[in-house]
């Protein structure tokens, strides 16, 4: 029990951010029409590409060959997630745009 209490006080800021973000995430997309499920999933997919920041940090203080190689791969994969995700989403939504203009 003591462990849990210590853990909470030590990481309370992160815990607050996590809990509040969970509610925010639910609230933000709860009224999405089913038409937008696919683009929204794809957009969210691109946003979790934010993991690339971690890859950059790890690569930024890599000091041996193995971690350099792994870091390099991690940055490439993260970028793929970010760039590919946003571009695919944009392509899907481009088509919705046309419809909106016609309205």
């Amino acid at each position: 029990m003591d462990d849990v209490l210590k853990f909470f006080i030590e990481y309370r800021e992160a815990v607050f951010i996590i809990i509040l973000s969970i509610f925010l995430g639910i609230e933000v997309i709860s009224h999405v029409p089913s038409v937008l499920h696919t683009p929204l999933m794809s957009g969210a997919n691109a946003i979790h590409g934010v993991v690339i920041i971690g890859a950059i940090i790890v690569m930024g203080h890599a000091d041996n060959v193995l971690s350099m190689i792994l870091g390099f791969i991690a940055v490439v994969l993260g970028t793929l997630n970010v760039v590919g995700g946003f571009v695919v989403t944009d392509r899907m939504l481009e088509m919705f745009k046309k419809k909106v203009n016609k309205k």
């Binding site: 639910i26 790890v58 971690s67 970028t79 944009d90 909106v100």
Partner: protein, 490 residues
Amino acid sequence: MDTIQNLLKEITYSPGISILEMSYLIASILFILGLKKLSHPDTARNGNLWAASGMTLAILFTILFHRTRTADGSYEGIHNIGWIIAALIIGSVIGWVAARKVKMTAMPQMVSLFNGMGGACAALISLMEFPGMQSRLAGMQATSMLNGEALAILLGLMIGGVSFAGSMIAFGKLDERIGDVKSPVLRYINLSFLFLLVAFVVFIMAARPVEGETWMIYTLAGLALIYGVTFVMPIGGADMPVVISLLNSFTGVAAAMGGFLYNNQAMLTGGILVGSSGTILTILMCKAMNRSLLNVIIGAFGGSTAGASQTGDKTVKEISLSDAAVLLNYSQKVLVVPGYGLAVAQAQHLCHELENLLGSRGVELKYGIHPVAGRMPGHMNVLLAEADVAYEKLQEMEDANNDIGTIDVVIVIGANDVVNPAAEKDPSSPIAGMPVIRVWEAKNTIVMKRSMAKGYAAIENNLFFMPKTRMLFGDAKQTLQKLIAEIKNL
């Protein structure tokens, strides 16, 4: 208390760090607003751009201003900038080209592939941070087993690994490279793997491996990858969008673990946001198919023999192209119910042509879109929008069902499960309870299909044997082309 004081000491002011943290705040706001805008049709595209600019900001400022505290208490900037930029360029070029080149029909597997990349990235970060964590753990005097960093690293690896392996399998299945493996044994294997994974994380936390002992982390990575495969393997193809959405939220959580590890707010908010909204999205998708998440994961779909036994003596009635042309030409209201077959045949443009042709003859043609038509919710809307079909012509399932009695001819193009009467009439059917478009209530139904093959859920469709149904076999594109030519000749 020591750790708390250490934590406070770590927050040292420098303009660079302050700017970096502010950029993360702005990035987080852009993510939230972007996601909000993404959930409304009018603002969706802008929302995507907002999120993308937040991401660019966060990446750029991390490279410029990030400082890591070294062992002696001084601060170090990002090294290897040349390599990082090279990796960013390689990833951007491949990602951009792949995203631009992919066909709209292959969109779902593309999303899955990109999702897997993110998961792999998160897992790699954990792999690389593990040795550092070991030395930190060794230096720490506290006896607390709940070390946040260690937990974040292990969970990041576990969730990222599962997400990566799972996404690759989902990609393979949607791309029809991998078939479904259905075996009740897999369910138990799955559960035991999940249990093993969690137990192993607890074990590593408790054992506090000393420096150099890296076998544990690689074993954990291996277990996570295997679980990812066995988790997705038995899930039926029709449920793949739900699984991708679920894995998507997994990757979000894995990214958030990275944020926890680096005390990085942009990663934390971005990751958790995706984690929670992804979970809600998954549940919404399940609702659209009237299935529970648990049901999807356990994989009850498909392979069932219900209904299949009673098909032997039934015959279908075909309709000739010219009859179909006449029927359509002299109708008042026509409803097209498109499915994945239409998308595969790339026939959406011909559909639009048919719509214009019939429109010029005074026939009203609309589209009835099932929420899960295609391979993903909303997939069909995207495909038809690509072919310039006007928004007002697209009817959602409820509206289509309300007017179905007034429709003279329904043309089902490459759809199967979404028009299967068994969903409403046969409680033993695996898709029982799934909302469907009740095309059998229309005056006539023409089903365009390549063959009598079963749909994605692999169950028999009684619609084809109903008295008002006529079949028009052939490739959707060629059939539509011929049909349009026939109508023009009338």
